[in-house]
């Protein structure tokens, strides 16, 4: 505060300098206002406007009809169920795999640049394009079934089954894990690099085994990062859509029962032109994300306070 007044004494501010900050902010805020702030407010309003028509831009009245309609739609519940399934499978499995890989990468290795490049590649490549490669690999006569044949497994109709939706989900989850792994490894790796190596050296002196060091030192010290990864990945998995689309040629699974929440929003909007239901579903999605973000900030504050004291 004191400094601010000192600055004022130091420099005489012309009229231009008083409005100058707003000129710097103007272009930025124009974009934020039109394409973020306004849509947030509008989507809340729209979710309470009944029978909204995009053609006439009119609606019949205010009410909770869209929410009632959404919550009574079996497709919506199917979308929630599938999305939760996806989250509960992808988040823990990718966490465990990433923990192992990040821990192994976090040491002096020959060719570590090559390893890193390979592990991080899925992060920079188009989900649509690699999704097509996975679709091709998951074909009935594709390379995955061929390789599984060596393990004595019969060909599995991953993407085409007419009865087993579980195969569809498995394919989606495998692709999802592969896709989210780089991001997870990077976060964990940067968390590992922040751990003081002294702890590990001290444990080594006391002749602790690597496994013991991993579970007794690394994992506890990495707990805040692990938690962050879980939250961030849960949020991003809640929004699963771009992985689903190329795998099934734009359909929600081979039997049309692999709706996810974001896919549901899309269908309500583009297929049924029901913008109210789409808005209501989007708000329910946001509610999930909000709760998880709050949990994250809450826990972060607690751990930071602990560090200080």
């Amino acid at each position: 505060m004191k400094k601010d007044s000192a600055e004022k004494d130091l420099l005489y501010r012309s009229k231009f300098e008083i409005i100058e900050p707003y000129l710097y902010l103007l272009p930025f805020f124009l974009g934020v206002a039109v394409f973020t702030l306004y849509p947030v407010i509008n989507v809340v309003l729209m979710s309470f406007q009944e029978d909204y028509s995009m053609l006439t831009r009119s609606f019949s009245g205010w009410g909770i009809g869209n929410y009632v309609k959404t919550l009574n739609d079996p497709n919506f519940w199917q979308a929630i169920r599938n999305t939760l399934h996806y989250v509960l499978l992808v988040v823990p499995i990718s966490l465990v795999l990433s923990l192992i890989i990040a821990n192994l990468l976090n040491q002096k290795l020959k060719g570590s640049a090559v390893y890193q490049s390979i592990f991080f590649l899925p992060m920079v490549t188009s989900v649509t394009a690699v999704g097509l490669a996975w679709k091709f690999m998951f074909n009935n006569r594709g390379v995955i079934n061929y390789l599984l044949g060596f393990l004595g497994m019969k060909a599995i109709p991953w993407l085409r089954s007419a009865q087993g939706g579980a195969y569809n989900m498995t394919a989606l989850v495998v692709f999802g894990i592969w896709n989210i792994l780089p991001f997870t490894i990077i976060l964990l790796l940067s968390g590992l690099q922040n751990i003081d190596p002294q702890y590990r050296i001290a444990a080594k002196v006391d002749a602790a085994t690597n496994l013991r060091i991993f579970f007794r030192i690394t994992v506890p010290l990495l707990a805040p990062t692990i938690f962050l990864v879980c939250i961030v990945n849960t949020i991003s998995c809640f929004k699963v859509f771009s992985e689903l689309y190329p795998l099934f040629g734009g359909n929600p699974g081979s039997m049309g029962n692999l709706y996810t929440v974001v896919y549901y929003i899309r269908t309500s909007m583009m297929q049924y032109q029901d913008y109210g239901v789409a808005s209501a579903a989007a708000l329910i999605l946001f509610l999930f994300i909000f709760v998880f973000t709050m949990a994250q900030t809450g826990i972060r504050k607690i751990t930071e306070r602990r560090k200080v004291s």
Binding site: E20, M54, V124, S126, T128, A129, T293
Partner: protein, 272 residues
């Protein structure tokens, strides 16, 4: 014992790396296979010739050259404008004084948790109202300012000592001059990260183009590729050739700029 764990490390990472790379490997190889080779069972591993015929056929069946050009255009415009608006806003939040500066910035940060999926419904309508529906402008305008990139740049600007600013000001430098002649050159590394992350997000963007582009010649690569595979009964080997075209530029970019991209991701994540 130590040797054993060393061997295990390399073995595990190599096997895991091979699995991670396999989809790319398979995509690249299949792009060169003939129709017969690509559907053969058991699969043919190495194509008989490395001719570019599948690329040629894919480019004939769908206007991939046009998609490629659109992708570049959208990327250059949106990354260029976003970088500019982010630099200006970050500087204002970091150095300039105006009432409510901190509150406003906190408010913006909290807006980062809003998923784009939630904004699509209204933005779709806005794009129609602006008369840019089904044009490349619909892909550019909504992505001209970013809270996340502004946040990264502001964080860097905050690390530049304030005394530098005041000594420049006393020497008669204007804010504008100080920003472009002192701050921006110093922020080269943060700027590179911001530009690269933004370029990746723009190039790979799929969902939004799918909502707002219906004319074939206005599509960008991922959306064009997706339509190509569902519409005209295209063959898998041509699909893999087209996918290679989408994926390869970003792989090359990544190999050259890994440090910046990984650093940026570790700091706050990728969009989406």
């Amino acid at each position: 014992m130590k040797k054993v764990s060393r061997v295990f490390t390399y073995l595990f990472l190599t096997v895991a790396g091979l699995i991670m790379f396999f989809p790319f490997f398979w995509m690249f190889l299949s792009a060169f296979k003939t129709s017969a080779e690509v559907t053969a069972s058991p699969p043919v591993w190495v194509p008989s010739s490395f001719s570019l015929i599948n690329f040629q056929l894919a480019f004939e069946k769908a206007p991939f050259l046009r998609y490629f050009f659109n992708s570049i255009l959208v990327m250059v415009l949106s990354v260029g404008v976003t970088t500019l608006t982010s630099i200006l806003a970050a500087f204002a939040f970091s150095r300039l004084r105006f009432p409510g500066r901190k509150t406003l910035f906190t408010l913006l940060l909290s807006m980062m948790m809003i998923p784009f999926e939630m904004l699509i419904i209204t933005n779709y309508r806005t794009v129609i109202d602006l008369g840019i529906y089904d044009t490349v402008w619909a892909l550019v305008l909504p992505f001209t300012s970013s809270i996340f990139y502004t946040y990264i740049l502001k964080n860097f600007f905050d690390t530049v000592p304030e005394s530098l600013y005041w000594s420049a000001r006393i020497d008669g430098s204007s804010n504008w001059h100080y920003l472009w002649k002192v701050m921006v050159p110093m922020a080269r590394s943060s700027l590179t990260t911001v530009i690269l992350l933004n370029a990746l997000a723009s190039w790979n963007s799929f969902m939004w183009p799918m909502y707002v582009i219906i004319t074939d010649s206005n599509r960008t690569l991922p959306w064009g590729l997706q339509v190509f595979t569902t519409e005209a009964g295209s063959n898998p080997e041509q699909q893999m050739a087209a996918s290679t075209v989408v994926v390869l530029p970003m792989i090359i970019l990544f190999l050259f700029a890994r440090k910046y991209i990984v650093g940026g991701v570790a700091r706050g994540g990728l969009k989406g």
